[in-house]
């Protein structure tokens, strides 16, 4: 009898624990701040993917023949390709015919000439997201007050760019910053020269799909010897239901140029999964430098893994000139599935690539992310700092390639991969690939896996912090090196995002 009592008492406790976990997770699922939807009349292309759809997208963008031909070639190729399944990701088969490939707000039918003409509903959407789409009126010669750094924004809503700020001011410096559809029309010589030169059409299944159906995205050209006068950013918002977003970004830093570029993304909460397959190409010529920072916060799905974005992204930078430099910084907190490996091709002699990453997976999220450092030039250097945090039932994989080609003599790589586990139902995996084909190069790889320590949490709590504050503090400490690599605007956002993403992960 006593034994029975003890047993039922234990069951009750267990149930109590489970209830508590579910409650905290529920509370947390409500914490995704950007899950609302903009009610706006949307024009869709017919569902599914066909040659007609590719032609329609091209026509909607008013593209020249060469662009259409390029898309059609990609589409032909894609039909013969198979979706890659080598990543440590588990998801049901994607029905590529069961979604829309083009969606645009009706009010964007006639392209607004200036931001003042943009549909107030769209402007309100970005205001609510905290993205400044207004250029503060500044008198000529008047410096922006300290601490109020200006950022030019290209805002992409579903399949179209809504507007780009500070274009005129950037043009004065010779910088071209516009949507890619506009660049195809206005700067065909640059687009033809560089599009697909870093990520070829044939690169991979998702990049090929993107090449066929990409609708919009950003285009940046920094002329020789120019330091871009302000930070550039693109903000991607998926709003329409059952619609994929396929944006394409092309950044060219000419000889001796410099630019820092930021990318942010969010989407409404929905029960169905949505596909996001983007391509980012960066061309960096001699002595030029590009910093590319991402805060990826697509809707991650609910606590049971229902809904959320499937994020299949190809990002690559080509250090084409000697002494070219690129730095990728990413904070990946969203998406149900993340498949993303921002890479560096270190072609120029003495070129440098850096990759700083924080990937957080909570609840049922799965992330398979990392980088590729391809050393082709002499004395090339790369550095990888990856911080993976897993909580709930999430799986988080770092997958990275460091390759030293025979000609890449005297090159160096340093890799540091740290994983942090919160709770006992999640997983962290590190899959490094290292290929060295010369004997004068050096490759270092360090990896650690640790758990959030109860002693640390108790120490924090005994000083007055609640449990979630304590976890956020410890985790922020864990990824400090990467947070420090972020531009100021993003560092603050990322820090609070880390806390929000992990709310309810302990208890």
């Amino acid at each position: 009898m006593a034994a029975l009592d003890a047993q039922s008492a234990e069951l009750e406790v267990r149930e109590g624990v489970d209830r508590e976990t579910i409650e905290t997770v529920n509370a947390m699922a409500g914490k995704y701040k950007y899950g609302w939807e903009t009610e706006i009349e949307t024009e869709y292309a017919p569902k599914g993917l066909s040659e007609d759809i590719v032609r329609l997208i091209s026509e909607k963008n008013g593209e020249p023949q060469w662009m259409l031909d390029w898309r059609l070639a990609a589409y032909e190729r894609w039909l013969k390709m198979e979706e890659p399944r080598w990543a440590m990701l588990n998801y049901p088969e994607i029905d590529y015919q069961d979604q829309y490939y083009y969606a645009k707000p009706k009010s964007m039918d006639v392209k607004p000439k200036s931001l003042d003409e943009v549909d107030p509903k769209l402007l309100a959407t970005y205001a609510k997201l905290g993205i400044p789409l207004k250029e503060q009126a500044l008198l000529a010669g008047v410096e922006a007050p300290e601490g109020e750094r200006r950022v030019a924004v290209d805002a992409v809503f579903d399949s179209v760019s809504v507007g780009t700020t500070f274009k005129a001011e950037l043009a004065k410096a010779g910088v071209i910053f516009c949507s890619i559809s506009e660049a195809v029309r206005e700067h065909p010589e640059l687009v033809q020269k560089y599009l697909g030169s870093v990520v070829p059409q044939s690169d991979n299944f998702f990049a090929t799909l993107n090449s066929a159906v990409f609708s919009d995205g950003s285009f940046v050209y920094i002329p020789p010897g120019t330091k871009c006068p302000m930070e550039l950013s693109t903000y991607f918002r998926i709003n329409a239901e059952n619609t994929g977003q396929f944006e394409r970004t092309l950044i060219i830093a000419d000889k001796g140029a410099y630019v820092s570029y930021l990318e942010g993304c969010t989407a409404p909460k929905r029960d169905t999964n949505q596909l996001h397959a983007a391509v980012v190409e960066i061309v960096i010529l001699e002595d030029a430098e590009v910093k590319y920072s991402t805060v990826q916060n697509w809707y991650p799905g609910d606590e049971n893994g229902k809904g959320g974005i499937y994020n299949f992204v190809t990002k690559r930078a080509d250090c084409r000139g000697d002494r070219a430099k690129v730095m990728w910084t990413q904070v990946e907190t969203g998406s149900a599935i993340t498949w993303k490996y921002p890479s560096c091709i270190l072609r120029g002699n003495d070129s440098q690539g850096e990759f700083y990453s924080i990937a957080i997976a909570n609840n049922a999220q799965q992330a398979d992310t990392g980088t590729k450092m391809i050393h082709l030039g002499k004395r090339t250097k790369s550095r990888i700092v990856s911080k993976g945090i897993s909580a709930g039932r999430a799986q988080n994989t770092y997958r990275g390639l460091v390759s030293m080609h025979p000609k890449a003599t005297d090159s160096r790589n340093y890799t540091q991969c740290d994983s942090l586990l919160i709770g006992d139902k999640c997983g962290a995996h590190t899959v490094p690939y290292i290929e060295v084909k010369n004997n004068s190069s050096r490759v270092e790889h360090e990896a650690t896996t640790s758990k959030v320590d109860d002693d640390q949490l108790f120490y924090c709590r005994s000083r007055g912090m609640d449990e979630e504050e304590a976890v956020a503090l410890v985790v922020n400490g864990f990824c400090r090196e990467v947070l420090q690599a972020l531009p100021m605007e993003f560092a603050m956002e990322a820090q609070s995002l880390v806390a929000i993403s992990l709310e309810g992960s302990v208890g």
Partner: protein, 251 residues
């Protein structure tokens, strides 16, 4: 200030009873010391009071200014004015000492419905407190306790105490691992916080700390109970004769 009544505690994981009816009353402004041999339950008492996991209270109660302590979360106890200076302060890599302190202070202020301190005001406050403890700016910038020497860690605990301004301070073997100079520095820091209202419970093996921090009352703890209570002379007696006589006396 602190009232402990018939406190019984066992380990959660195993059937080991550690505290077997502890009674202790500390009035406002009083400094009490608990001495006792290893394994007598001194550190357990400090952990149970501050709310660490792993212990089960089977009987008795503890209250801070009349508020039931044992029902509160650790952070609520902190906001209510309880502070534990750890015997082994914990390292938190990547988190700056200043960030840690500011987060803690503002969390407590928020819990008490007070306004959070601005970065500027906080900086001023910490600098002033750090100066009296001879803590240099470098130590404030470093990650919490990471790479700190034993003495630095203990000084850091006292700095936290000075900034958080608790009502009831528990010092768990603060003298362990300190050389004579560091002990003096730490003691000076503690003494500077004695203002006639703030109370202290000083847990130690050795009498030497009590030369610096003069207690009003000394308790001897053994096998989970307080077996004798007296004035500062009791500490000297232990120092000279050890615990054996006292233990024999009780038995």
């Amino acid at each position: 200030m602190l009232n402990i009544n018939n406190l019984h505690v066992k380990l959660e994981e195993e059937d080991k009873v550690i505290l077997k009816g502890v009674n202790l009353n500390i009035g406002p402004g009083e400094v009490h010391a608990i001495m006792g041999p290893n394994g007598s339950g001194k550190s357990t008492l400090s952990y149970v009071l501050s709310g660490r996991d792993g212990y089960e209270v089977t009987d008795g109660s503890a209250s801070l200014e009349g508020a039931e302590l044992l029902e509160m979360e650790p952070e609520e106890r902190a906001a209510a004015g309880l502070f534990l200076a750890f015997q082994y302060p914990v390292e938190i890599p990547g988190v700056g000492n200043m960030t840690f302190l500011r987060t803690a202070l503002n969390a407590q202020r928020k819990a008490r419905g007070e306004e959070e301190l601005s970065a500027g005001d906080f900086l001023k406050l910490v600098r002033e407190k750090a100066k009296t403890l001879k803590i240099d700016a470098d130590m404030l910038k470093r990650p919490v306790n990471v790479g700190f020497s034993g003495g630095e860690k203990k000084r850091n605990e006292i700095l936290q105490m000075a900034v958080l301004e608790p009502k009831m301070c528990i010092l768990d073997e603060t003298d362990s691992g300190l050389d004579v100079d560091a002990m003096k520095l730490v003691s000076d820091g503690v003494n500077a916080l004695r203002d006639g209202k703030r109370s202290f419970l000083v847990i130690t093996h050795y009498q030497r700390l009590l030369d610096h921090i003069k207690p009003d009352v000394v308790h001897i703890m053994a096998a989970g109970r307080i077996i004798k209570t007296g004035g500062p002379e009791l500490a000297l007696e232990v120092e000279n004769n050890g615990y054996a006589d006292l233990l024999a006396e009780v038995q």
